[in-house]
């Protein structure tokens, strides 16, 4: 059974309650259509199960297959430096159908980032290595495709819909 390596830590982007009983980690790629499909379901999971859920997103860009996957991850991290990782994360998935090299600045403006700072941060080596660390963590944790989910540190064998179903059943 594959387990999450390293465990959730302060380098992660975390949404939800600290005291939540269920921690979900997604390894995702902003250009992956399956991740795009999983996005609204993850939102629904967070809404339905509220305080019980903590959600973490780690980058797993398939950069050769998806030309905008890595730049999109950079955009999310650069937004994160201005405290708006999740706003960019949401905007990227909501606009996945028109993902392009020009989209990032537009989204940065839409979510109210300091554009100059955003562009400057987008070239930072630190951000690049943060994304590579996420990828490395995925590889070590047995990620075999995107999206891959880990529930309380153990690889979940299924997609977002299966995850929703499993949570619903265990809540009943």
């Amino acid at each position: 059974m594959s387990t999450l390596k390293p465990e959730v830590n302060n380098q992660d982007h975390i949404q939800g309650d600290d005291s939540a009983s269920v921690t979900i980690v997604e390894f995702g790629d902003y250009q992956c259509p399956y991740c795009g499909n999983a996005y609204p379901i993850m939102k629904e999971i967070e809404e339905t199960f509220g305080h019980q859920i903590k959600f973490i997103f780690r980058h797993f860009p398939l950069a050769n297959a998806h030309e905008f996957a890595f730049p999109a991850a950079i955009a999310a991290e650069a937004a994160g430096l201005q405290g708006k990782f999740w706003e960019m994360h949401d905007a990227l998935y909501e606009n996945q159908y028109r993902l392009s090299g020009e989209l990032f600045d537009e989204l940065a403006e839409t979510i109210g980032l300091d554009l100059e700072q955003f562009q400057q941060d987008s070239t930072s080596e630190e951000i690049k290595s943060k994304i590579e660390d996420d990828f490395d963590s995925g590889v070590r944790s047995g990620v075999n495709g995107t999206p891959s989910f880990y529930v309380n540190g153990t690889k979940f064998d299924g997609g977002a819909t299966d995850l929703y179903q499993m949570l619903k059943e265990s809540a009943e």
Partner: protein
């Protein structure tokens, strides 16, 4: 299926219409063989797409990775081009599945290779092998653990 300690059977397979790969030419290097059923599975869950992102890891462990399936060289070429793969896919095409059979990972019923991984050490001995359920992409953590183990020696 061949297990740890066995000598890896030598083979000569086409990587492109005019390039043959011989296993014995890779003595002195670690080799990863990833047998898989067929080209063209969906990209986000594709085993070869994953390994393609990991070439620098394999480099680090002085390892060369090869994908192996019964698809023809022309099919492999189109697949490599479409997915921008930067490592060789070998065509176990004629006689069909002969190398897969030699490694004990040929599915007679489907007429395809099973989903199996082998890590071969620098002397040509199998250091680790793994058979995955046909529908499950085994990822890469097992390969990396095996290569790490070899590196310690």
């Amino acid at each position: 299926m061949l297990e740890k300690g066995a000598t890896a059977p030598d083979f000569e397979l086409n990587a492109t219409p005019d390039q043959k790969i011989k296993l014995k030419d890779f003595k002195g290097k670690n080799v990863v063989l990833a047998f898989y059923p067929a080209d063209w599975s969906p990209v986000c869950s594709d085993q070869m797409a994953l390994y393609n992102e990991m070439l620098k890891y394999f480099n680090k462990y002085d390892a060369q990775i090869f994908g192996v399936s019964v698809d023809s060289v022309w099919c492999h070429l189109a697949f490599e081009e479409n997915r921008k793969l930067h490592f060789p896919l070998l065509a176990d095409f004629e006689p069909k599945g002969a190398v897969s059979k030699a490694y004990g990972v040929y599915d007679e019923e489907l007429g395809e290779s099973k989903r199996a991984l082998f890590v071969i050490d620098k002397e040509g001995k199998i250091a680790w092998s793994y058979l995955s359920p046909i529908a499950v992409n085994p990822g890469a953590d097992g390969i990396l653990d095996a290569l790490e183990e070899l590196n310690k020696k």
